[in-house]
């Protein structure tokens, strides 16, 4: 296999959910375009952060990657193998390489199963080893995530949130995956526990050469862990860049407003920052606005005198600087502008 084939490549992925009406004569009255034309590549061993507000489609994208949702169109390829067209007998093995850690450590473990059983579940499903070998493996997995082995017999309600998230991680690691989709994996935890889990994630990445698709709405957490960051808005990827580029020189007006809402630790910097408050709510994903999806709330468009192009022409993702792509007709207006500097808290 070619060494330059990315670990995961998502190509023009669309995941639409039909809105149906009627009981016997069920008819589709609309489509929620949760993910609408996203392309993204992940290389082996890197962490890509995926940010966006609620309803932007980031969770749907993550779930499509692990096979919980079937793509409406487009493809997801793992090491060059299209997961959509793979023969079903091979699919199970390939799918095992793509695992997920869930957001809610309270809901992601079966309350009636001892945690050892939850961690061992993927092993039983894939018929790995015999009972004794599985027991041993569960013990090893507990070691790996830093939980004492005797916890295997405990039930989820006896554990703290952070411990449960470690259990969720152990379960995701059971099948020795190459890629883990972490869907808001630390969002439900206290800040101190978040830090522990993030450190654990980074240690596991070094140890097992894992690749992460790290979905979160907390920009600071994403910044800390990610090599590259992708920003989603209303089912689309609007900006993709390395962490330092994205946080230092955001080029999409939506990213700029996101960053402006994110507090900066330095009070002097914080004081001179200007927040950009977006008007209104995100549009209905069942009927997204034409042209650029962000044009209805875009501060830049307003500032430029509402050019017609934004409402009529869908901006493609284009490379501006090296490794920095953005989907905005007027991204050049953002680059090195005072607004950009104010948003990220850089000096004038």
């Amino acid at each position: 296999m070619n060494a330059r084939v990315p670990l995961l490549s998502i190509d023009d992925l669309r995941v639409h959910f039909p809105i149906t009406k009627g009981v016997v004569l069920r008819r589709t009255v609309g489509q929620v375009q949760a993910v609408d034309g996203v392309s993204l590549e992940l290389s082996e061993g890197e962490t890509v952060g995926l940010v966006g507000e609620s309803g932007s489609g980031k969770t749907t994208l993550g779930r499509a990657v692990v096979g919980l949702y079937r793509p409406t169109s487009g493809s997801i390829a793992f090491r060059g193998t299209d997961l959509g067209t793979i023969r079903s007998e091979d699919a199970k093995g390939v799918r095992a390489q793509l695992q997920m850690v869930f957001q809610d450590p309270f809901a992601s473990l079966d309350p009636r199963w001892p945690i050892g059983a939850s961690i061992g579940e993927p092993l039983r499903i894939h018929g790995v080893g015999n009972r004794r070998e599985r027991r041993t493996r569960v013990g090893e997995l507990l070691d790996v995530v830093g939980l004492p082995r005797r916890m295997a017999g405990r039930f989820p309600h006896e554990l703290s949130g952070g411990q449960r998230q470690r259990v969720g991680l152990a379960r995701a690691l059971a099948l020795r995956p190459a890629l883990i989709v972490a869907d808001e994996a630390v969002s439900a935890l206290d800040v101190s526990v978040q830090a522990q889990i993030i450190n654990l994630l980074q240690r596991l990445q070094r140890e097992f050469g894992l690749t992460y698709l790290f979905i979160a709405h907390d920009l600071a957490v994403v910044h800390h862990i990610s090599d590259r960051v992708a920003v989603m808005y209303l089912g689309r990827l609007v900006e993709l860049a390395s962490g330092s580029d994205l946080y230092g020189k955001p080029l999409h007006p939506y990213t700029v407003s996101l960053l402006s809402a994110n507090p900066v630790p330095d009070p002097a910097v914080e004081a001179r920052r200007q927040r950009i408050v977006l008007p209104g709510d995100p549009p209905n994903p069942a009927s997204p606005p034409g042209g650029c999806r962000f044009h209805t709330r875009c501060w830049l468009r307003e500032r430029l005198g509402s050019p017609e192009r934004c409402a009529s022409e869908d901006p493609p993702l284009r490379g501006l600087a090296s490794g920095h792509t953005v989907a905005c007709h007027f991204a050049e207006e953002v680059a090195d502008s005072p607004v950009q500097r104010h948003a990220v808290g850089a000096g004038d």
Binding site: R63, P122, R131, V138, R171
Partner: protein, 301 residues
């Protein structure tokens, strides 16, 4: 040694846990203690009643008809000289047996259908739900009476009729649970790990639906006993000489002015038994509802 124990397979929660939970449940309210005590007593009498009973429940003694309560006959005798205490004891066994069969049939059928309905969804769900609507639209007791009357008076037909009336409730209950469980993250996690529908249904869904079903069963036992007796009272259920409580009450009805003990004792037995199961069921429901989380499992808050 203990530190090395690693459970890799699901296992039952163990006796100690159950004992702790029982103690906590009884500690909530004295009504729970009363309900549990009555239920345990009735179950005890139902199982061992034959050994305790001083007489054969169907043994006639025409020399001693309609005797009042006395040392020889604690609850007195009926119009054919049968010992009412022995008959009431035998009735406990019948009532419990009947309730168990009714609930086993309706829970097994209803819950299975509910899980299928919730899991498969779509048209299958739609059809199953409309069928349950059909059954639920009738007043339950009237429907049971109509079915029992159509099939012909007998205890077996009464059991069948009541099972037919009861199952849709369990279908609804199980379906609702499955619908909420289906999208829960631990079910999604099982799917990501490659689990099929069957594995998810048997491994995760049944286990999580069961506690709610058990509470409903404990509430319904009393109702099943009462309904069986009511149908027997109307002459649709147990036929003479079966010592079913409702049937004994029917026999004793006409003697209420001359031999008050005849309908009174089976009536009391029925009332106390139903009360016991209802108290237990109510207690269980209240206990499980607010903290579905915690000791009985569920999601921890």
């Amino acid at each position: 040694m203990i530190a090395e124990q690693v459970a890799a397979e699901p296992e039952t929660t163990g006796g100690r846990r159950a004992l702790r939970a029982t103690r906590r449940f009884l500690g909530v309210s004295w009504l729970n203690v009363l309900g549990a005590a009555i239920v345990v007593l009735v179950l005890f009498l139902a199982v061992l009643g034959r050994g305790i009973a001083p007489h054969d429940p169907n043994e006639l003694d025409l020399a001693a008809t309609l005797q009042g309560p006395a040392a020889a006959h604690w609850f007195g005798t009926d119009n054919l000289g049968r010992d009412l205490f022995s008959r009431v004891l035998a009735g406990a066994r019948i009532s419990i047996e009947v309730a168990v069969i009714i609930l086993f049939l309706s829970v097994a059928f209803g819950t299975l259908l509910g899980i299928v309905s919730g899991l498969v969804g779509g048209l299958v769900d739609e059809i199953i739900m409309r069928i349950t609507d059909l059954f639920l639209a009738f007043p339950a007791f009237i429907l049971a009476a109509a079915i029992a009357a159509t099939l012909g008076p007998s205890l077996n037909h009464t059991v069948l009729a009541l099972a037919v009336v009861f199952w849709p409730w369990y279908t609804r209950l199980a379906r609702g649970q499955v619908l909420s469980l289906r999208e829960r993250e631990f079910v999604l996690a099982a799917r990501v790990a490659g689990a099929g529908t069957m594995r998810i249904a048997t491994g995760h869904l049944v286990r999580n639906v069961l506690p709610i079903i058990i509470v409903q069963v404990s509430l319904d036992v009393g109702y099943a006993i009462l309904a069986t007796s009511a149908l027997s009272f109307l002459g649709l259920g147990a036929q003479p000489p079966t010592p079913e409580w409702g049937a004994i009450i029917t026999d004793g009805r006409s003697y209420i002015q001359t031999a008050w003990w005849f309908p009174t004792f089976p009536g009391l037995a029925l009332a106390v038994t139903v009360l016991g199961f209802n108290l237990l069921g109510d207690g269980l429901r209240d206990w499980i509802d607010p903290r579905l989380r915690g000791s009985l499992g569920g999601v921890e808050g």
